[in-house]
């Protein structure tokens, strides 16, 4: 058990730092949050630079243009980029972190050839069409239908919380292909070309007053059958393969960012009780950063982050919530401007305990999958209640 970086990790870090130093100085100014064309241009330009420098697809296999770097280098990459305030993955998020890895693992040769290189170079932007108004925590309860009709599937339904729906050229789509099967068994995973007729995208305004998510309305959209990824009705498994690509690094950028916020808050904290709370939150972030190293170390050896990976989201979200509340108490009314970074972050991080599995769902997962406590039973179907 040690925390010493290996010589090769140190060398990687030094090279990356030098490249970041040189490259970040040449970037254009960051675009405004609601200027989507500018954001696409900015983020895909950054992806191209990463690609040209060999830093795109850190975890991707070499045969797909990735670096196939060990988890420790992924960790360093994310840490250094965050520390240097390099651009976030931004509009490339769905493509590089979800769709690309899924296609690599489950796509046909033609699907891979059509999309994977473009995603890696920043030539193709993806969005996600998973959740539905009535299928959030219970994602497998989704009802968007995809009915086979010759060499197409006809898709009708309504998706929500579609990140980058405004600008995605392709969407990751989950739709029900067998409504008679048990709910996890009748779902398929599709590549959804977002320019097909019958697709309507409507931005959702968040509590930040901006629109990071969209609703996507699908009205008899004819999706070519060769857009099916993996086997029909096997989409629930397909959508879960993506996770293993993270190898313990999922919250690294968040962690670095949180620690920076804590350090920036410190000079404003004069009240003794608030200082103690800050010390407590920092101790938690320190521990979660150590846990990240534990997860990355374990993933490097076993391919799986184990317990540490299962509890990271819950622990991080709750710690970040404490930091957010502390910052609001400390700042008081003098700085209640949404453009104040602490305020913006407090609002943004409210989504951490909700999105991608609420803290309540996370506690179920820890309680059931780790501790082995019994699952909730299904309620009787309506009409059969005792």
């Amino acid at each position: 058990m040690d925390l010493r970086a290996s010589p090769s990790d140190e060398a990687f870090r030094a090279g990356l730092r030098a490249w970041l130093d040189a490259t970040l100085a040449t970037l254009p100014p960051e675009p405004a949050r609601d200027d989507w064309p500018a954001r696409v241009a900015y983020d895909t330009d950054w992806q191209k630079r990463l690609f040209d420098a060999g830093y795109a697809g850190m975890s991707w296999p070499r045969e797909y243009g990735g670096r196939d770097a060990p988890p420790s280098e992924q960790l360093i990459f994310l840490e250094e980029c965050s520390n240097a305030k390099a651009p976030y993955v931004g509009v490339n998020f769905v493509g590089t972190l979800h769709a690309g890895p899924t296609l690599i693992a489950e796509g046909t040769d033609a699907q891979k050839a059509a999309h994977v290189p473009k995603i890696l170079r920043g030539d193709e932007v993806w969005c996600q069409c998973f959740s539905e108004p009535d299928a959030g925590s219970d994602l497998a309860g989704l009802t968007t239908r995809a009915e086979r009709d010759g060499d197409h599937y006809v898709v009708t339904g309504r998706k929500i919380w579609c990140s980058f729906g405004q600008i995605g050229e392709f969407g990751e789509l989950l739709a029900r292909t067998d409504p008679t099967a048990p709910k996890h068994k009748g779902i398929s995973w599709f590549i959804l070309p977002m320019d097909l007729p019958g697709i309507e995208v409507r931005p959702i305004e968040t509590i930040l007053g901006s629109s990071e998510f969209c609703e996507v309305f699908l009205d008899e959209v004819r999706v070519p059958a060769d857009c099916l990824v993996g086997a029909e009705n096997d989409g629930w498994r397909v959508t879960n393969v993506t996770l293993s690509f993270e190898r313990g690094t999922a919250f690294v950028s968040e962690m670095v960012d949180a620690m920076r916020m804590a350090v920036e808050l410190a000079p404003h904290v004069h009240d003794p009780a608030d200082r103690r709370e800050l010390g407590h939150v920092v101790a938690e972030f320190d521990a979660l950063w150590a846990l990240t190293k534990r997860n990355v170390s374990r993933a490097a050896r076993t391919g799986d982050t184990g317990l540490g990976g299962m509890l990271m989201k819950l622990a991080y979200s709750e710690a970040r919530d404490r930091l957010g509340e502390l910052s609001m108490r400390v700042l008081d009314r003098g700085v209640f401007d949404v453009h104040e970074p602490f305020v913006e972050e407090r609002l943004r991080t409210l989504s951490l305990t909700i999105a991608a599995g609420t803290s309540q769902i996370q506690r179920n997962i820890v309680g059931e999958r780790v501790l082995g406590l019994p699952r909730e039973r299904a309620w009787p179907a309506p009409g059969t209640e005792g």
């Binding site: 959030g136 925590s137 007053g209 009780a273 453009h339 999105a355 179920n364 309620w379």
Partner: protein, 308 residues
Amino acid sequence: MHFDLTDDQEALRDGIRAVCQGRFPSERVREGFDRETFDALGETGVFSLIADGFSWADASIAFEELGRAVVPGPLVWGVLAHGLVDGVPTGLDRPAPGAPAMVEHLAAAGAVLVLDADAVRVVPADAVAGVALDWPLDPLTPVTRVTDLPTGEVLAGADVTRWRRAGAVLTAAFQVGMAHACVEQATAYALDRRQFDRPVGSFQAIKHLLADALVRAEVARTAVHAAAVTLDDPEVGDLDRAISGAKLLAGEAALKNAKASVQVHGGMGFTWEVDAHLYLKRAWVTNTAFGAPDACADRVAATLPGGA
């Protein structure tokens, strides 16, 4: 002793609630505050309650209803300065030298009341220089960062200590109303929203979150009523302790319950469309007025023997 609403007070509560439901539904509230809102509220009599002979307990019952509807505006100042200044009143505690001074609703205001160490002073609104925030945290509470706050003139007959106390009670009452509204709105959603083939409110995780929220709101409500009654009749208790405790618990209830409401609403709670965020943002804003929660807790501790 009858420490419960009288029939008259229940009628007052129901009356104000009906007014809010009729004239301040969510769509109207979202249009924000202006002179017209002020006049409409003035017609209901909420600003003149004290002048009309009602008690602070009555006024706090009314403000609880305004909070429930999250009505925007410098409402507390409307009561404090009723009949004493022209136009819409707003106000602030005089900041320490060098501290930022923020005034809410300056554009709509005619006069700014400044709570000084020993007096209430009036400054004409157009004499206050400042920069309006582009994006105030609460979209319904415009805020101006003051760059020049004239000394103003002493408002004769205004007891600054009493203003601070009454301001804290009314603000706390407003917060209690917000806290209860959050429980009600989140409960309604939890009854309606189904996941895993059952209402999400049937899950203990949600049920207990809401139960704790209700307890917080109701305990805070009782504290506010006790503070208001003590403001009316200071012999029945330790007034500063009652007010500090009420403001502390009400502020905490408003904030935690609004967060609980966001959480229960799930993804929808993170949208502009659902009202939960309006309560959360107003909770933060009101917690900075007339005594922040931490300062209130310190003051309660200071009232204990050997506690100064």
